[in-house]
């Protein structure tokens, strides 16, 4: 009996060993692309998560030799830990990362890079650009500047406007800088710029206060579409009719719908699409599957979204 069991056991171990090495060989054939992104805490990051998950499905279906792993993290610290866990569990062939903050993530990404991993950075750049093999980002300055140019033209370079800005970050600073630089060259007066933290509620409150403070406002710019929805509600409640334009930015689907419908107050938006994560994942996959060279920087334009081209920027299934 004992001999039989022992033999059986021996056979079993041998079999499992063979199985193990087989799966090991299989895993080595597969290229692993890890995707590290912020968790869905507001509309835009919700869009990032949605598009990353879509890309995972599409790429795994199209290229069976590529395995995409998407990990979301609620904070910069958590993202650093996630990177450590990801690279400890397996050999990463590529890392696509949308860093929470530039400074804190530079060191950890450098460590991953030293293991021979292809690094694709999205949206927020690292402090040392030498680390990245591929950089994909939107153009925040253009988001502000293109909106400002359109607005200046429509207002005939005259008028009084108010601005709502987001959370104090580089993204917010760049948008405001792009906008104010263009407005400086006109006779348009910016009455006020205050933070509303990319939050609908705070934007509603702030707009109510702007309306109480200024008897004449020709146009409003909220540097994000989430805030724009709050602004529009406050304007509607006040019954004020002198406000000719209320503009946002980012290409949220609710606002794209308004643009498509030819809304007179919000006839345009500018994209800063969360789907840029998808561009980065696809490009990284091309690097491994098609051996199409993908090293370098890729900056997405921020063209005006108008009723004519709105269809291209509309993703009805995305949460953003």
């Amino acid at each position: 009996m004992t001999i039989i069991t022992r033999r059986a056991l021996g056979a079993l171990t041998a079999a499992s060993l063979v199985a193990l090495t087989a799966t090991g060989a299989l895993a080595q054939d597969k290229k692993i692309i890890a995707v590290s992104i912020p968790a869905a805490t507001h509309g835009w990051t919700g869009g990032v998560v949605y598009h990353a998950e879509q890309a995972e499905k599409e790429i795994e279906a199209a290229f069976p030799n590529i395995d995409v792993i998407v990990k979301t993290s609620p904070s910069a610290e958590a993202q650093v830990s996630a990177l450590e866990d990801l690279s400890a569990a397996q050999k990463l062939d590529a890392l696509v990362i949308l860093p929470f903050t530039s400074e804190e993530l530079t060191g950890p990404v450098q460590t991953v890079k030293e293991g021979g991993t292809f690094i694709a950075v999205v949206d927020r750049g690292l402090t040392d650009p030498a680390i990245q093999d591929l950089y994909v980002a939107g153009d925040n300055i253009a988001v502000g500047a293109n909106t400002a140019k359109w607005l200046a033209e429509k207002l005939g370079n005259e008028g009084k406007i108010v601005v709502l800005r987001g959370i104090p970050t580089v993204i917010d600073d760049e948008r405001i800088q792009g906008f104010t630089d263009v407005i400086k060259g006109t006779n348009i007066e910016i009455l006020d710029i205050q933070y509303a933290n990319w939050n609908q509620d705070e934007a509603f409150t702030l707009m109510q206060d702007y309306l109480a403070k200024y008897p004449q406002i020709d146009a409003v710019w909220a540097n994000d579409d989430d805030m724009l929805l709050g602004v529009l509600e406050a304007v509607k409640q006040s019954g004020r009719t002198e406000i000719k334009y209320a503009l946002g930015g980012n290409g949220m689907k609710d606002v794209i719908e308004m643009v498509m419908a030819g809304d007179p107050v919000t006839p345009i938006s500018t994209p800063y699409p969360p789907s840029m994560i998808k561009s980065a994942i696809y490009m990284t996959a091309a690097q491994f599957s098609g051996q199409a060279p993908m090293r370098g920087s890729f900056k997405l334009d921020a063209p005006l979204i108008t009723p004519e081209n709105a269809e291209q920027f509309y993703f009805p299934d995305s949460p953003f």
Binding site: H42, G43, D192, Q194, S318
Partner: protein, 329 residues
């Protein structure tokens, strides 16, 4: 046994007439006066109506928090709970709209009240039956409610059905004899809260449990039951605030109600309720909520403060208000 509690109540009663208790109202008057001097658009009817209406959410939730805090507990989950209840209500209303039409609003509101009460009950039971520090217990549920609303909305937003927007709009934007409806609802909640706290046995037990839970227990007060009920009241207040909140923007998002718990606690404490429990001031709480909202309003209306420093100035004003409180006493 009951004599102890009535003694406490009697000892507290005359204090209510001391002028030091008028502190929060004097502070409110002062802030308003500064507003009038600083900016001419402050005293306009629209601005005052805006500010008072806006403060309704914090005021209503803070009435519930006054019960929780005075009974010796703390609830950090109210902001997330508010977002969660809002999400559930909108989903219910949207689901029922095809069959019930505009009546779906009432059904949804009812569901919201039940869900709010259940959330409060869960908090209360974790604290009392589970014997976990309220700070930690509600920190846990705060994360749970916030994650649930994020999950329900896929990180985006849950908008209310277009067909319901117009019939529901008046609940935030409408008025009764010129008084905005959210203000009327706040007044009803505050009156009910004041009655419960100052005129009923439950209110006195709340104070007893908060000032010294051991003594209260020996006097025959079921501290666990009193505290659990306080959390349920808090949950109901959150649901009432949610009912007024939905028509304002017509959507719930993962950032709905973010950091409101801190505003609520600040309003309660500015109002003269002791953070360690045992003393409650419902009307003071309302004054506290108004003070916070007026300060925020003034920061935008005045041009004196750099946009980068607004939060710092608000912090300084709150600390000054509390210090003034201390010295008046």
């Amino acid at each position: 046994m009951t004599s102890t509690t009535t003694n406490i109540a009697r000892a507290e009663a005359p204090r209510r007439f001391r002028w030091a208790d008028a502190g929060p109202f004097l502070a409110l008057a002062l802030v308003v006066l500064i507003g009038v001097v600083m900016n001419s658009s402050f005293m306009t009817g629209t601005n005052i109506a805006n500010v008072v209406t806006r403060s309704a959410f914090i005021a209503i939730i803070a009435v519930g928090a006054t019960f929780v805090i005075s009974s010796g507990c703390l609830d950090l989950s109210v902001g997330s709970m508010m977002a969660f209840v809002t999400g559930i209500m909108i989903l219910t209303m949207n689901r029922l709209e095809p069959s019930l039409g505009a009546n779906a609003i009432f059904a949804g509101a009812l569901v919201g009240l039940v869900v709010g009460a259940l959330c409060g009950l869960a908090n209360g039971l974790i604290v009392t039956l589970g014997k976990i520090e309220p700070f930690i217990a509600t920190l846990g549920t705060m994360g749970i409610f916030r994650a649930l609303i994020t999950w329900m909305s896929d990180g985006g937003s849950i908008p209310i059905d277009r067909a319901l927007r117009d019939p529901y709009r008046p609940v935030y934007f409408g008025n009764v004899l010129g008084v905005p409806l959210p203000v009327v609802i706040t007044l009803i909640v505050v009156l009910a809260g004041a009655f419960l706290l100052y005129r009923t046995k439950y209110g006195r037990r709340c104070m007893a449990a908060g000032s010294n839970s051991e003594v209260a227990r020996f006097s025959g007060v079921s501290v666990a039951r009193v505290r659990t009920l306080a959390f349920v009241i808090q949950g109901l207040c959150v649901a009432i605030a949610a009912i007024c909140y939905i028509p304002r923007l017509g959507a719930a998002t993962p950032t709905t109600g973010q950091l409101w718990e801190l505003q609520v606690i600040t309003a309660v404490v500015i109002g003269g309720t002791l953070l360690r429990g045992g003393k409650a001031r419902i009307w003071g709480t309302v004054a506290g909520a108004l003070i916070l909202e007026v300060i925020a309003n003034l920061m935008v209306l005045s041009n004196m403060v750099s946009e980068y420093l607004v939060a710092a100035v608000q912090g300084v004003i709150i600390i000054l208000a509390m210090l003034a409180h201390r010295f008046i006493r």
